[in-house]
Symmetry: C2
Subunit: 269 residues, 2 copies
Amino acid sequence: MDTRSIGVFDSGLGGLTAVKQIMAELPNENIVYFGDTGRVPYGTRSKETIIKYSKNDVNFLLEKDVKMIVIACGTVSSTALEVLKKEYNVPILGVVEATSLAAINATKNKKIGIIGTPGTIKSGAYEKFIKAQNSEIETFSSACPLFVPLVENGHFETEVAKLVIKEYLEEIKEKGVDTLILGCTHYPLLSKAIGEFMGDGVTLINAGSEVAKALKTELASQKLLKEDGKVGKYSYFVSDNVDGFENLGGLFLEREINGQVEKIDIERY
Amino acid sequence: MDTRSIGVFDSGLGGLTAVKQIMAELPNENIVYFGDTGRVPYGTRSKETIIKYSKNDVNFLLEKDVKMIVIACGTVSSTALEVLKKEYNVPILGVVEATSLAAINATKNKKIGIIGTPGTIKSGAYEKFIKAQNSEIETFSSACPLFVPLVENGHFETEVAKLVIKEYLEEIKEKGVDTLILGCTHYPLLSKAIGEFMGDGVTLINAGSEVAKALKTELASQKLLKEDGKVGKYSYFVSDNVDGFENLGGLFLEREINGQVEKIDIERY
């Protein structure tokens, strides 16, 4: 047993959709969350910048003495995970593997769609992992640069959101995929509109849910679960002011977080 | 006469629309441009973070020995200009005064609309300046958080752009303004669609054009013009990779800039 916290980070608010799933899956675990709201978004930046920023994020979480780090960010998971694993001793879990495995399990016609930020899609990380598991599966991907700004501005099921969904997903839909990976933790907030566009026959795979399940398995196999029966404690850190995060973050998390958020200077780490 | 460069900075690419106007207005002047592409956008961040980032930007430009600094960013001009003027000796020019004066000159019915990023609108800087000049003028403002992501992703006259323009501008249009301040240097790229929505009777005021004219007046009055008859030299610096900036930046500037852009670590300044 290990009572230390799980460290979770994301470029901003989106990772909270994964945290919500982790809380449900592992209610005893303590969680320290860092959202890099002062430098969000990551998904439109270069690989070098994403690596630089995610090292700051890991260094900050290590100062909080975490037992494992979850990258609740599709962009970092697909562009920086290998580098981070090489440089740090702490176990680090990204969203790509768990999410890809769930999609491989779900597909019947062996056609999987992948959507994510430009950084994620450029990396080809999901495609590579899926092909390595099963070379018969065909993948079709699309970068969706406007989804994060839409979500961060409350556009979930508006006409604008629906038009942008059509723009980014039309081609994937035409390919006849039966499974779609939501490769960015912001996207679950668009899942209703995405599901309606793709139709009933298409299974949406949520990166946040899958990484939460994988985290449980991983903690158990490394004997790191906190099994003292006490409900977990949560703390949240951000790199810009706390007010915006408290309001929208509460919505993402479906839980009140006012007064529990602290601002830090991430560039120092 | 002073042959030193003019320093221009913006949160990212948008400021290049102002640079283009400065090049046209002052073809002999040397220009050093910094775009904080590694931390763009500024407009959705807190005032403290905007001030912190813009100090980095000014410090970098001062190292280039500039004779004057132009803030080609509506957000920084409206939230950080006073602080920067107090802390630095170099003359600093923002977009708010020049743009507001042009709007005051243009309006006949004394109703001016102002659009900008959430940071700009929250600051109330345009409204305060206009009211101080002429208390009879009514102002109507609207924050447009999705305009910058739309422009940075090439959505200029698409159906999505038109819908978002309607969402943000409908109320201002109903108020009957005859003049609209485009309070963010990204917005000129939406001006065709904005103009069509607002109608022929509404004059659009472009922050970039106005600050270029004000800069010329200011340099002349301080005897800082470079009057050697030689065409100016331009250099561009960014905080993320150069490739994205070179491509889209060339479009903003309507000029080839490949090979002239250098990446720097802005967090060191």
